[in-house]
C-alpha cells in the first residue's frame, strides 16, 4: 500500500507530526469551546506544541545533555532552544495566569463563563441606551 519511502518520511518526521497534531487540537479547542477556561486550556496546548517544536529541533542524535565535560569530542544537544523555550514557558505561564484572573473577574461581573451567555448579556447592554448607568458591577 504505502511504499517504504512514504513510511520512512512519516516516521522520520514524527516530531513535526506530533507538533502539528497538538497545535491543531489546541487551536480547535480555542475556537470551538464556549467555556472560557477550556479556551485557556486550548491555548496552552497550542503553545506547548510550539515548545515541542523548538525542543525537537535542538536534539542531536546521540547527543547528551549540554553540560561541559572533560571529553572534547562530546556531542551534545543544542542548548539555545532549551533556553529560549524556558523563556517562552514563563511567558506562557504569565499569559495563563492573567487569562485565569480575567476569567475570575468575568465570573464575578457576568455570573457566567460561557461565551454565548456573556454575548447575550453584552447584547442586552448594547441595546439599552445607557448601559453604564444601569449596571453597577462588582469590580
Amino acid at each position: 500500500m504505502w511504499d517504504e519511502m512514504t513510511v520512512e518520511f512519516f516516521v522520520s518526521h514524527y516530531n513535526y507530526w506530533m507538533t502539528v497534531i497538538l497545535m491543531m487540537i489546541g487551536l480547535y479547542v480555542v475556537v470551538s469551546r464556549g467555556n472560557l477556561v477550556k479556551k485557556i486550556v486550548g491555548l496552552n496546548l497550542f503553545q506547548t506544541s510550539v515548545f515541542m517544536l523548538y525542543i525537537s529541533m535542538a536534539k542531536i542524535l546521540g547527543g547528551t545533555a549540554p553540560i561541559l565535560t572533560d571529553n572534547p569530542n562530546e556531542v551534545y544537544s543544542n542548548p539555545l532552544p532549551h533556553v529560549l523555550i524556558l523563556t517562552a514557558i514563563v511567558v506562557g505561564v504569565a499569559t495563563t495566569a492573567l487569562g485565569l484572573a480575567l476569567i475570575i473577574r468575568i465570573r464575578e461581573s457576568f455570573d457566567t463563563i460561557e461565551e454565548d451567555e456573556i454575548f447575550d448579556i453584552e447584547q442586552q447592554m448594547a441595546n439599552t441606551s445607557h448601559p453604564h448607568a444601569e449596571t453597577p458591577n462588582k469590580c
Partner: protein
C-alpha cells in the same frame, strides 16, 4: 561620566522604565507612583530624542548587551527606522501620563492607581524594547511583556463598563495566538540559519535562499504580526479593546501598540527577508494589498454606523492601518516612506482624537453619540480638538493626514496604479461621513436639559492640544517627518549593508578605550 552614560543609551531606554515599573507598585502611593512614572517616561523620551538625533544621518548604533558580541550575544541595534518608532512611542508615552492622572481618577478606584502606572510602564517598556532590539527572540519576549500589560490595562476599564473584561480576555486569546505564530516563524528561521540576530539572519537567509521553510516562516510571521497590528480580517479584538479600555489607555494603545507591531513586520519583511523571495512579493501583492484596500473601505463603512465615538474611532484605526499596509505593499521605497509617514501622522492624530474623547468621558461619563448632543457649546476646546483631529483623519490640507495621503497617492502613481490612488481618495470620502457625524452631533444638535459638562481640566486639555498642534505643525512643515521617514525607509532597505561596520558601543569597547587613555 556623561559620555559613558550616553554610550549606554540604547539599553537605558528600556531599563529605566523596567526598573521604574516595580517601584510604582512597591511604593503603593498613587501620587508617588505617578511621579516615578512621569520621570521615567520623560527620561525615555529624552533618550529616544538623543538616539534619533544621532542616527538621522544614516549611522547605526549597535549596542552589545553585557559586552557579548553579536550574533551570539543580544544586540540592540538602533538605526533611523527604529529610532523613529522609539521617538513616537516615548513621545506618546510621556504625553499620556499627565492626562491619565486626572482621567483615571474618575474611571477606577484610587487604590489601584499605582498598579495602573506599573502596568503602563511595563507596556511602554515592552513597546520600546520591541523597537530597540536587534534579536528576533527578544522581539517576542518584549512583545509579550507589552501585551500582557496591555491586557491588564484594558481590563482596568471594567469599572466604567464590565465589557472591558471580555474585551481584554478576547484580546488575550488573539494576541497570544498571534505571538505564538510569530515564535513558530522565528523557530523555522532558527532551524535553517542557526541564528537569531536579525542582521545575521538577513545574511544567512540570503545564502539559504527561497526554500519551503523560509516561506512558511515568513507567512507565520506575517499572520502573527497581522493579528497584533489589526490587519483587516484579524482585527476583531480591536474595536472592543479600544472601546472599553480607560480613555488614556485607548489613546496610548491606538497611537503606539499597533504601530510597533507594524514596525516589526516591516523590519522582518525588508531587513530580514529582503525580498529575495518571490513568495513575499506575491503575498504582498495578492494578499496584503487587497486586504488593505478592503480594510480602508469595510472598516470605514463600519465606522459610519457606530453609535459610540470611541468605537467609531476604533474602526477608523483599522482603516488607517489599511493605508499604512497599502503603502508598504506597493513594495517601493516611496511606498514604504509613505507608510512610515502615515504611521507617525496617524499616531499623532489618533492620539489627539482619543484624548479628546477621553475628555468627554471625563465630563459626561459616556462617549455615545447620543450623550454628546450640543457638547460643542459647553466644551468648546475639546470639541475643537476633536474636529481638528477629524479633519486630519479625512486628509484636509494643512493637517498631517493630508501629508500622508499626498505621499501615499504619489507613491501609488509612481508604480503606475491610478486605481489605487483613486481608491485612497474614495475611502477618504467615507471618512468625511463619519467625522461629520461627530461634528453634527456636537455642534448642530441642541444640548439636553440638565447636563452639566464644563470644559475638561487643563491637565487633560494640554496633552490633547500638544498632539493637535503637532498634527497641524507637521501638516504645514512636513520637512522633519518626511526626511525622518525616508531615512527610516532607507534604513529598513539597507540595514543589511554590512560593508560599513556599525558604530561599536559595547561596554567591552568602552573598557578598553578607558584603559588606553
Amino acid at each position: 561620566m556623561l559620555s559613558s552614560l550616553s554610550a549606554h543609551l540604547p539599553v537605558l531606554q528600556v531599563v529605566v522604565l523596567l526598573i521604574a515599573a516595580p517601584l510604582c507598585a512597591l511604593f503603593g502611593n498613587r501620587h508617588l507612583a505617578w511621579t516615578i512614572a512621569f520621570i521615567a517616561a520623560s527620561a525615555a523620551f529624552v533618550i529616544s530624542t538623543l538616539l534619533l538625533g544621532s542616527v538621522l544621518d544614516g549611522s547605526v548604533i549597535s549596542y552589545h548587551l553585557g559586552g557579548w558580541a553579536p550574533p551570539w550575544g543580544i544586540e540592540y541595534r538602533i538605526d533611523a527606522a527604529n529610532a523613529f518608532i522609539l521617538f513616537i512611542v516615548s513621545l506618546i508615552g510621556v504625553l499620556v501620563l499627565p492626562y491619565a492622572r486626572q482621567s483615571i481618577e474618575r474611571e477606577f478606584e484610587a487604590s489601584t492607581h499605582s498598579y495602573f502606572y506599573t502596568c503602563y510602564l511595563l507596556c511602554l517598556t515592552g513597546l520600546l524594547g520591541v523597537a530597540a532590539t536587534g534579536d528576533a527572540f527578544n522581539v517576542f519576549v518584549f512583545l509579550e511583556i507589552s501585551s500582557l500589560a496591555t491586557y491588564a490595562l484594558v481590563a482596568f476599564g471594567a469599572k466604567r463598563d464590565k465589557r472591558a473584561l471580555t474585551a481584554a480576555y478576547n484580546y488575550l486569546i488573539m494576541g497570544t495566538i498571534g505571538a505564538t505564530f510569530f515564535v513558530i516563524g522565528i523557530g523555522f528561521l532558527y532551524m535553517v540559519t542557526g541564528t537569531l540576530n536579525m542582521a545575521d539572519l538577513a545574511v544567512r537567509l540570503a545564502e539559504v535562499g527561497d526554500t519551503r521553510v523560509t516561506r512558511v516562516a515568513f507567512v507565520f510571521i506575517l499572520v502573527g504580526m497581522g493579528l497584533k497590528l489589526a490587519m483587516f480580517p484579524l482585527h476583531l479584538w480591536l474595536p472592543n479593546a479600544y472601546s472599553y479600555a480607560p480613555s488614556a489607555i485607548t489613546a496610548f494603545l491606538a497611537a503606539t501598540a499597533t504601530k510597533v507591531a507594524l514596525y516589526v513586520l516591516l523590519r522582518f519583511t525588508f531587513t530580514v527577508f529582503q525580498f529575495d523571495f518571490p513568495v513575499q512579493e506575491l503575498t504582498f501583492e495578492y494578499v496584503v494589498m487587497p486586504l488593505a484596500v478592503v480594510a480602508m473601505f469595510a472598516a470605514s463603512i463600519a465606522a459610519v454606523f457606530q453609535q459610540d465615538v470611541k468605537r467609531l474611532l476604533a474602526y477608523s484605526s483599522v482603516a488607517q492601518v489599511g493605508y499604512m499596509l497599502l503603502g508598504v505593499a506597493l513594495l517601493t521605497e516611496a511606498g514604504l516612506t509613505a507608510g512610515i509617514i502615515h504611521l507617525f501622522n496617524h499616531a499623532v492624530t489618533k492620539g489627539a482624537l482619543f484624548l479628546a474623547v477621553g475628555c468627554f468621558v471625563y465630563q459626561v461619563g459616556s462617549s455615545r453619540l447620543g450623550d454628546l448632543k450640543g457638547i460643542g457649546k459647553t466644551m468648546p476646546w475639546t470639541t475643537a480638538a476633536l474636529t481638528a483631529g477629524g479633519l486630519s483623519l479625512i486628509g484636509v490640507p494643512l493637517t498631517v493626514g493630508f501629508i500622508s495621503k499626498w505621499y501615499l497617492i504619489q507613491a501609488s502613481l509612481e508604480t503606475g496604479s491610478l486605481l489605487i490612488a483613486g481608491l485612497i481618495v474614495a475611502s477618504s470620502l467615507i471618512a468625511v461621513i463619519y467625522v461629520w457625524r461627530i461634528v453634527e452631533v456636537a455642534y448642530l444638535e441642541p444640548a439636553p436639559e440638565g447636563r452639566e459638562a464644563k470644559e475638561a481640566p487643563l491637565s487633560m486639555l494640554l496633552p490633547t492640544y500638544a498632539l493637535v498642534v503637532a498634527s497641524l505643525y507637521f501638516g504645514i512643515n512636513s520637512e522633519l517627518t518626511s526626511s525622518a521617514a525616508s531615512q527610516a525607509a532607507n534604513a529598513l532597505y539597507s540595514a543589511t549593508d554590512f560593508a560599513a561596520p556599525p558604530m561599536l558601543l559595547s561596554p567591552a569597547d568602552l573598557r578598553s578605550e578607558g584603559a588606553s587613555q
